[in-house]
Amino acid sequence: MDYTTLIQLLDSTVRLATPLLLACLAGLFSERAGIFDIGLEGKMLAAAFFSAAVASLSGSVWLGLLAGIAASMTLSAIHGVASITFRGNQLISGVAINFLAAGMTVLIAQDWFAQGGRTPSLFGGARFEAITLPFAETIAPLPVIGPLYADLISGHPILVYIAFATVPLTWWVLFRTRFGLRLRAVGENPAAVDTAGVSVVGLRYAAVAIAGVLCGLAGAYLSTALQAGFVKDMSAGRGFIALAALIFAKWRPWHALWATLLFGLFGALETRPDVITALTGMKVQGQLLGALPYVMTVIILAGFVGKAIPPRAGGQPYVKER
């Protein structure tokens, strides 16, 4: 494998990892606050549709982005009402949200555009364009560093940079701010937060809302940056891979980055059977590569490679009065 191929592969990795990363960080906020979220997939899908739909109708990708975030946050709100206010089963709520998004997106798409669950193709200002970073062209001819900067680091839509910037931001918020301290506490022992005079409900809603925003970004990225429009079920299980990455990352922001990059790399390798053949010396089944993130998650979960301990109060509604 030559250097150009490597850069291309990594470039593809970055593109494919971005939605995973955003969704993974969304899950991180939610689950750190004690709310399990298997509805990442659904939120991402809803955001993908609404951002493409509104971008297509308005011609502005930014309006689309807002709409996507709003859609994702609406589902977050449903999840919050079910699992925080009414103390329902968070897993079941997540399942319902995934179905709701899968159905509603197609239903609305059909109603608005009558194109079999698609939005029209986006162009011009209705899409996120790649950004060329400063000096990319000047540096490009340099060996090694040139392609690295000009091809790999430069030339992504803004959402990619936002996603990567969210990692240190998440770390800082969680571990360096009051809000983060309280958020982590509420996922470990909500009663401690409650008796310390802080609202458990408020914190959990805040966490779920942040998850909504991040899933919104992830969805918008899929349909308005990575693609030029929405097609049904376009999240294609990425929400579940993000969930797997979250466990893989043991609920830590920097680990989440590495985990999603790894899963992104698997995706990138799937498009390069020639590279895999060159590397391994044999033909690797596409299905195996596709299933690899899931298999690895199971292995991690089995505790053979370091144990993943979820936040202690995760998944349980905070019930004071029986």
């Binding site: 150009t4 593809s12 079999g116 669950g117 698609r118 693609q227 097609v231 498009t271 299905q287």
Partner: protein, 308 residues
């Protein structure tokens, strides 16, 4: 009242199913009559849709896609008075017309154009689901490429192995980028909805693409080299026009009877030079009169021009 059943890709896949829809639409506009239609959502619905239409008196019933073969084989016998038309598959029942296309011939022609337009000597092919039919496309294409430039490299990828592979533009887009990085400057997408992502990315990245089934040149004017047209629309139009009592048996649509070909219109006029056109048309003529045999992958499950 005739009926049309679309396959899982959906009516508006900008490709195969959409071509069928256009044919029906044309018939409807010309005759002022209406037709029934349904987009399948699930496997179990195939037989159900067939029976439902048959029982409600729809005739003829046209269906798009080889996946109906099994269901139609089951159903056709139960409704001897209903005529069925299946596209892309041969079902040997007395009340069935099977329309099959020589996609390898059309693909051969666009393969020639690809090789002529390519500056790098490397061209790409992106298939949808990895099935013999799509390999047939790929194989004809590769043969066409090699006919023009024997040293040309053809990179062929399949999107996946599930029906989802027909509808995964994200992956189509990544595959395109991967092929571009390997030097491809023309890519041919035979991948249903996935092709939308391929054409989009090719346009974004400034290389040429080749559409499939319908004429997709208009999607990105000046960026789509041509489209391998598979006149599903004609097949549907013909079937509906003939109406009840249409002619049964196997109908082969090839270059000879303009069932397949390549698209030339105002959107790609500047991309196809006179010489290119002349050379391709000459080949087409030879295919039509039988003096040029394009290899059909499905005849023996092998491809001399390309290995999968």
């Amino acid at each position: 009242e005739p009926a049309l059943i679309f396959d899982l890709g959906g009516k508006f896949d900008k490709s195969f199913n959409e071509a069928a829809f256009n044919g029906a639409q044309r018939w409807s506009e010309e005759t002022g009559e209406s037709f029934r239609e349904i987009e399948l959502q699930s496997e179990a619905q195939r037989e159900q849709a067939l029976r439902r239409f048959a029982e409600s008196g729809a005739n003829p019933i046209v269906m798009t896609g080889f996946a109906f073969g099994d269901a139609l084989g089951q159903v056709a016998g139960d409704y001897p008075d209903t005529d069925f038309v299946i596209i892309d598959m041969v079902v040997e029942e007395p009340n069935v017309r099977s329309v099959v296309f020589n996609e390898h011939e059309g693909s051969y022609l666009v393969g020639m154009l690809a090789a002529q337009a390519s500056e790098s000597g490397t061209v790409g092919f992106i298939g949808g689901m990895d099935i013999p039919l799509i390999r047939k496309f790929a194989c004809g294409y590769a043969e066409g490429v090699k006919a023009v430039n024997p040293d040309a490299k053809v990179i062929a990828n399949m999107t996946g192995t599930t029906p989802a592979a027909w509808n995964d533009p994200v992956k189509g887009s990544e595959l395109t980028k991967a092929q571009i990085s390997q030097g491809a400057d023309v890519v041919y997408a035979a991948a249903g909805g996935t092709g939308v992502g391929v054409l989009q990315t090719a346009a974004d990245e400034g290389i040429l693409s080749i559409g499939v089934d319908s004429n997709q040149n208009h999607l990105h004017p000046g960026k789509v080299l041509t489209s391998m047209t598979k006149r599903v629309d004609n097949a549907v139009y013909d079937a509906m026009s003939e109406g009840t009592g249409l002619e049964k048996g196997v109908q082969v649509m090839g270059v000879a009877n303009e069932g397949v070909g390549y698209a030339l219109d105002e959107h790609n006029a500047e991309l196809i030079t006179e010489e290119m056109k002349a050379e391709v048309d000459a080949a087409a003529a030879k295919i039509a009169d039988g003096s040029l045999q394009v290899h059909d992958y499905m005849a023996d499950d092998s491809c001399p021009a390309l290995s999968f």
